[in-house]
Each structure stands twice: as structure tokens, then as C-alpha cells.
Symmetry: C2
Subunit: 346 residues, 2 copies
Amino acid sequence: MPRGNAVTIREVARRAGVSIATVSYVLNESAPIREETRARVLAAAAELGYRPSALARSLRARQSHTIGYSWHHVPRDHWHPILDPFLYSMAQAAEAEGYHILTFAQPADGNPWRPYQELMLTGRVDGFILSETNRDDPRVRYLLDHDFPFVAFGRANEEWDFPYVDVDNAAGTRMAVEHLVGLGHRRIAVIAWPEDSLTGSYRLQGYLEGMAAAGLPVDPAWVVRTEHSEAAGRQAMGLLLALPPDRRPTAVVTMSDLMAIGAINALYEAGLQPGRDVSVVGFDDVPMAQYLRPPLTTLRQPVAEVGARVVEMLLKLMRGEPLPERRVLLPPRLMVRESSGPHPIP
Amino acid sequence: MPRGNAVTIREVARRAGVSIATVSYVLNESAPIREETRARVLAAAAELGYRPSALARSLRARQSHTIGYSWHHVPRDHWHPILDPFLYSMAQAAEAEGYHILTFAQPADGNPWRPYQELMLTGRVDGFILSETNRDDPRVRYLLDHDFPFVAFGRANEEWDFPYVDVDNAAGTRMAVEHLVGLGHRRIAVIAWPEDSLTGSYRLQGYLEGMAAAGLPVDPAWVVRTEHSEAAGRQAMGLLLALPPDRRPTAVVTMSDLMAIGAINALYEAGLQPGRDVSVVGFDDVPMAQYLRPPLTTLRQPVAEVGARVVEMLLKLMRGEPLPERRVLLPPRLMVRESSGPHPIP
DNA sequence: GGGCATAGTTGAAACGTTTCAATTCCTGGG
DNA sequence: CCCAGGAATTGAAACGTTTCAACTATGCCC
């Protein structure tokens, strides 16, 4: 029965022979109630299987106890390496505090902040979690302008002040370079994303820092910028392999596992053995990464931690509690597998 | 501002110089209103940026316009091949009708139907979408017993009467067998799931039907039941390879891409070439499948269609409209790639 | 010119809570 | 035995809508 005849506080009150106020006080422990009355009310509520209406409660309290989250839908071969664990950890963290996650789709056309506006104005949500933010992100801008609580997984413009949690992308690629240097590589290339990707620029920066720290020069030809796809990764690797032998990289850091796979496939096509002839490192640690041939060395993002953290911060924010840290960076973890090579290069 | 000072219908009424009832009638077009008044109200609403409170509306209408969905969280190397497209298509379909999707986590312990009960009793949702149902599914049982609207992606006990959409798993594996037979294979094995998986039993059944239809005998040793993991798939393939030459299968159908990868890896380890020496077919078409070596022949599930369909049915159900079809089966699509072999076997 | 239907509008109730302010009930001290 | 004062309880308002029932014009017919 679709809650048409759900039991209300009124019925509990009648059954316990008290007023509805008393029932409310007992259930919320928000006023001193005689023990005997308390017991009677509790018994009545239990017998009737009473649960207070979230709707009525929300209306009264003027908050929905709901958090909005929307993610970018991507073509099926690009996919979202993080949705499942991220959403799950958010849902868990939220529920522990009596909140729920409302997911909504980002329409392909129109203002990206439209759905956010609608949810906010109709009072359906008390705050938002954003993910995959970027420079000049219109959603971030909109929420900041309207002073609505939100926390982002990812950064935007440095000068915009808003709470976020992000993976320390630069640290990740820096680690990757260090790892490769430790294996004896000196000519290390990077297959990077286009300039408009903020995350991509952090990852690229980490590569550059890693090279600099190791005192290695960077041949401009080693930095290939291309889009996020297997085909692009494959092509980029082809470009690198076409360099003259003394400039040809022996290792390559990529922005994603998908691109790493492209690179690996290019190596196979060129008759080379990935992990032996050329080392490849990915980013994301997609579920399959460990089962690929060769198993992929890659950077695992602490997605579940980000999810829990981001919700925790949002709850604090919505309750008006102070946020100890508004800008959190969590380090990724380098998963060393065979695509980066089992042995140091002589 | 967290909606503390959101504009209400009262303010619109005052600004337009009419009663709140009139405003409501204008906005919902639920009563005849003089054109001039109508214009005044509309103008006032627009000027104030008024949007009716979803909470108040829901309370009054006694429905939340929200659909609950929860999925099983899986270990990170098993993952959920369908969550992203499924959730996205559901969200889209729901929003087109003014509904939203509330996601919640399935706690590891305790009654599986507990969170469903809570959401239902507190009136937070008007209906549920279930996925990954199984035989004797306690959630299905609970919702049936309490006569609460839901639609499942997946089936349960044959004798339980409830609306569902499912992929025609048997048709999928049948297609796979046909395809392999067409390539010239006669000794075809299957790496299947344990008996407690309903989906697994449909997929196994399809294999058996396919073999029967082709007039091929099934050696009992060709049916290996094992759990859903790469390691298990690898082991199972090992078992099959250990059969004497004249009983050794030349092709194998698996229950999932993950197991197919295990099988492929076992072939490599045995010095065999998957797709040439032994054909392998997966199930799911995970995003990486096409980029594997060899690219994986597999069955793609029409996940987005299922999502749209399931929501459409649930909406009908909740509105009390008749459901033309209560049991829908959607065929998967065989994606032929190289792991099943480029050439017919002589 | 009176009655009457009808278009247009409004007041108020209701949805199910929480909580303020007021009331009743005790208990104990003088 | 009375009264103060705290403990326990209650009535009613409020949250922001929708919608029923009632009311007021307005125009039309006889």
C-alpha cells in the first residue's frame, strides 16, 4: 500500500492515550517525560510499527536531509572508473547521519547548473557533492554565487574559495616517474591530456617535477597531448616510437589506464614487449588493470576515502560547524605491476 | 542561503494582489482564471524566481516523487559492469516525469530488506527499482508481502508474480554457441557460476540449448562451475586444458568478461593463443573488453534500455495505470571480436 | 427587474510533524 | 492546609502547498 494508510503520530497518541506532542517528545527525547508514559508511548509506537514521515519532518524543519549528486555520463568505452565506489561510500557516510543521496542526470545541452538550481530552489536537497570539476566550472561558480552548501571532488580556479577534496594528482605522476627512474629509465615520456583539463595539468606537472627532481632533461617531443581514448593513446605511442633511437623514450607515463592500454597495444603492434622494451604506467587502477597483459602498473585513487570525506565535510558545512580543512589532498597509491618492467634497465 | 528565506507562494500572492489559492490555480492550470490575473501572477512568480517547495507539495500529495534504488557493492576487482549506464538511464527517464532517484547503500549485515522498509515507512520513496535479484530474494519477497510498488531488473522465483525486465541470458549464451558452431567448433565448454545463481542458471541453460540445437553432445567435463573471479576462470580453463586431446574443448563460453579474462590468461600461460588455438566468449562487454588482447567476443547487455524500461513500468505501476507487459526480456547483443577467432576451424 | 447560472476568486482545511507557550499535576516546605 | 515551583503534559501554531466549498460579481433570460 503506497503509504496511503500509513500510521501517523496521531494514531500512536490515541493508542497511548496521550497528546501528539508527548509522542513527539518521547520519540525525539526532547523533553522530560514520566517513565511510565514513555513506556506506554513506545509500546504503542512499536505495536503500530510507526515511523515518522520524513516529508512532514522535512517540511517542518525546512531541510530535506538529502544531498544531491550528479555525474557526467561518458561514452561506454570511456567509462567512469570511480562511480561505484564513490557513490557507495557517499551513500554509506550520508546514511550514518540520517541523510540520503539523490542522484540526477546532467542533461547534455543547456546550462550545466540548471538541474542544480532546480533542486536547490524546490528545496529537494540541502547541499551538493560535485565531481569532475574543472577550471571555470559553471556549477561551482553558480553555487558559490548563490551561497549554497557544496563540497567538490576536485579543484577549480585557485582563487575560488570553496571546500574540496582531491586526489594529489601531481604526487601520483611524480611517484610514477620516481619509480621508473628507480628502474633505471632516463628517457621518460608522458602521454597527457589537452590543456583544458585541470586534472591533466596537475598530472603533467607531477611528471615535470619528477623529471626535474631526478635531474633528467625533458625532450619536448616526449610530451604528447591528446584526448582521452585508447586510440589516442595508441597513436601517441606511435609518435614516440617514431623518434630516432637516441631520443626514443624507454618508459611512458600516461594520464589514464585507457590511454595506457592504447600505448601498450601500440607496442605490441610494433613488435615490442610492454614492460620489457618499454615501460608503461597508467592512472586510475580500473578493475581490470591487474588482469591485463602485462598487468598494469598504475595509480590507484583513494576513491572511497574521498567519498566519505566529502560527505563528512558537507554535513559539517550544512550544520554550520567549522571545517578544520577546506582543501584536502589525498595521495594516490602506486600499484606496481609488470607493465613497468620487472627488472632495472642496465 | 540554505532555503531559509526561499520565496513562498504567499509572497507571490501578495505581490500579485491575489490569494494563494489563485496563485496555485494559475501555476497548475487547475482552474479557470481571468487572463489578466493570470498574467499578473505569472509575472510576480517570475520576478521573485518562485519555485514551489517540493517538500510541501509532497506532503500534501502524500507522495514523494522519488524512486529508491540500491545496488550490491562488490569488491573492487569484481566491479559492477552496469551501474553507470543503468543509473544514468534511470535518472533520465525518471526526471522526464518529474521523479528523482534516491540511492542507498545495502548494508553488509542484517536483513537485506531493512533499508527498503525504512524508506517505505518514512514515505521517502514511492517505489523501488531492484537489481541483481536472485531466487528467494528477500527484498522481492518483502515488497510483495507489503504490496509496495517496485520493478526489478532481473527475475526471481518463477511462481512469484511481479513486474520485471531482464536480459534474455539464455538467448545470449545460445547465440554464443551458435556463433562458435558457425566457426566450426564442435567441442565447446562452458565456465559457469555456482548453482545458487539464477542468472547463471539461465546462461548455462542457453549453452545447453545451443549445443542441443546444433546436435552436439555435451561432455560432462565441459561444464565447470566456479565462482565469479579471474582466478576461478583461469583455474577452470586449466582444468579444461588438462583433458585428453580428443576431449579437450576448442572453444569456451563463460559467464562474464572477468572469467573470460581468466580463461585467456590461462591460455597464454599454457603457451596457447586465445582466439586461434582456443576461442573464448565473455559476457557483459565491460568497457575494456574491446581493447583487450585479443579483443573480447562478448555479449553486451542493453543496460540503458533496461533502465529506461524499468522506470517507465514503475511509473505506470505507481499511477495505477495498467502494465501491458509485466515480464519483459531484452536480448543481449553478441559483439564479435577476435577472442572467438577470425577463421573457421577446418 | 428578479432570479439564476457561471466564471472568477477566496478562505480555510488538510497533509504529519515539531515546538512554543500555556496548562495541569504533583510534591514538599512553611 | 495552602501555596510555590518544578515536572509533566497538552493545545495550537507553523512549515508551504493543494483543493474543497463558499462566496462575489457578471451577464443573460424571461
